[in-house]
Amino acid sequence: MHESWSPFSFIVTNLARFVRPHEVTFSGVNSTLPMLACLLAKRAYDFEFTYINVAGGVDPQPSSIPISSSDPVLAEGSRSIFSNEDFYDLCTRGEMDLCFLGAAQVDGLGQTNVSSIGDWHNPKVRLPGGGGGAVMLPTARRAVTWRTEHSRRTMVEKLDFLTAAGGMAGVVTPIAVFVKRDGRLALQSWHPESSLDEVRARTAFTFDAEGAGPAEPPTERERDALRSLDPTGTFERDAGVRLRPEAAA
């Protein structure tokens, strides 16, 4: 019997599974789960890849895992500092293989809104802004995003504002993994405790689900790696990811 797969682990593990051998992979600011995914991939997978991050680290050996994904500890053990201008230029000249970019809303093309809920000029909520998104999403070879909430207000038919186009190669939520197929997001897998029907019900855009099935449970090495990164469960508690919103009282 498997212990149940926490939605936190589901997101981190499935983000890590986008990392490929011998590629350059980047995690940025405000990106705790991708940071954990990159570090998990380093510990759980046998292949080599280059992990760069917004703290300037290049394959760092951090002595601790920071709360802030831009913490300078993420450059510890790095033999060079690859600073902000460097990794943006790397991306725009087409040499960034995989980067993780945040999103508040994602549409069926994998485009994102990170700017505002409601009209940009009269926002209901002013969001952080896209940071790298508008430049990196169209220029990275592959970009992947995550949402800790999977709902019709985050997985939308129409974005409130189009911060970044170009289309995500992957989207991971507590219940689903989407990949880009023929220019649109297609369902690749769902959380074993979820279902295709649930993903459809909680997604406002239409998507192809051909060949999709329950996601492969984490391997022992993936589990061990995540446990070693978050031995006290602090990151999991702070992330507060749930499979489903709590039923109204």
Partner: protein
């Protein structure tokens, strides 16, 4: 003999007139010129324009204190589990400040235009985004005929770049440890450069390894030495983020802001002087 550029923080901050545009170094909670930012508040500065790819605590506290008229930024958040920057968010939603939303790299492009001495600078990406239309950014065809089109960002010349550094020489040479974030391009694009540093290192130590110097003294107008000046943020490798202090800063109330300002290292130093 060159003269020392080291002056007290208050004097350095008073060089900034109301309405100035300030490029602030660092990123989110890391190595930002936060003692300087708090001193802007103590001196009651108004109508500032804040330019930074990834501001957080700095833009938030300046909005909270009513010092800001406008900001140009790529991504704004407190980070480290604190999420959105609440006072900044309120200021934008209530239209108390004007936002020019950038991608981080488009802001860098504008700064590069200034540093390079040209009126605009091409910036990769941006295709399909609504930001170019929002900001009136033009797309130009490659005049050399490759058929590529590229967005060009107008020059951004801050009145001041303000950097928090690890070490300075008395003459104003600047060294930072770890990533330099966008500090280098800020120092080359602004009309004047102000530096707050953790400590002074000898001119000889700078001369022994000049390649470690991020900003040479002749670009720097003034320096203030403020140990722990990036509090409540980090300054690698001297200290980490003071998360309880950030948490204590967040609740509403003038008394909360006053207590936060009073607890800052530069205020404690002044109280004991």
């Amino acid at each position: 003999m060159s003269t020392s550029k080291i002056i007290p923080l208050g004097e350095l901050t008073s060089l900034v007139a109301n309405g100035s545009s300030l490029a602030l170094g660092g990123s989110f909670l890391h190595r930002g010129p936060f003692a300087f930012v708090r001193e802007l508040i103590r001196q009651g500065k108004r109508d500032l324009e804040i330019i930074k790819q990834s501001p957080g605590y700095d833009i938030d506290i300046l909005c909270r204190a009513g010092c800001v008229r406008r900001t140009r930024a790529g991504i704004v958040a407190m980070e480290g589990n604190f999420g959105l920057a609440p006072y900044y968010r309120k200021a934008v939603e209530k239209k108390e400040i004007e936002l020019e939303e950038h991608a981080c790299a488009s802001l860098t492009a504008g700064l590069r235009a200034s540093a390079f001495g040209v009126p605009f600078q091409p910036c990769g990406g941006l295709h399909g985004s609504a930001l170019p239309e929002l900001n009136g950014w033009q797309k130009v065809a490659d005049p050399y005929g490759t058929g590529e089109a590229v967005y060009v960002i107008p020059r951004i010349t801050p009145d001041f770049a303000v950097i928090h550094a690890n070490e300075v020489s008395p003459e104003g040479d600047v060294r930072v440890f770890g990533t330099s974030h966008w500090d280098r391009i800020m120092s080359r694009s602004a009309k004047r450069v102000l530096v707050i540093a953790e400590r002074v290192a000898s001119s000889e130590s700078f001369a022994s390894q000049p390649e470690l110097t991020l900003i040479p003294h002749f670009l720097v107008d003034a320096v203030a030495v403020v140990p722990r000046g990036a509090w409540p943020g980090s300054c690698w490798p001297h200290y980490e983020v003071d998360y309880p202090a950030v948490e204590a800063y967040l609740p509403d109330g003038a008394d909360v802001l006053a207590a936060h300002l009073a607890a800052a290292p530069e205020a404690q130093e002044a109280a004991h002087a």
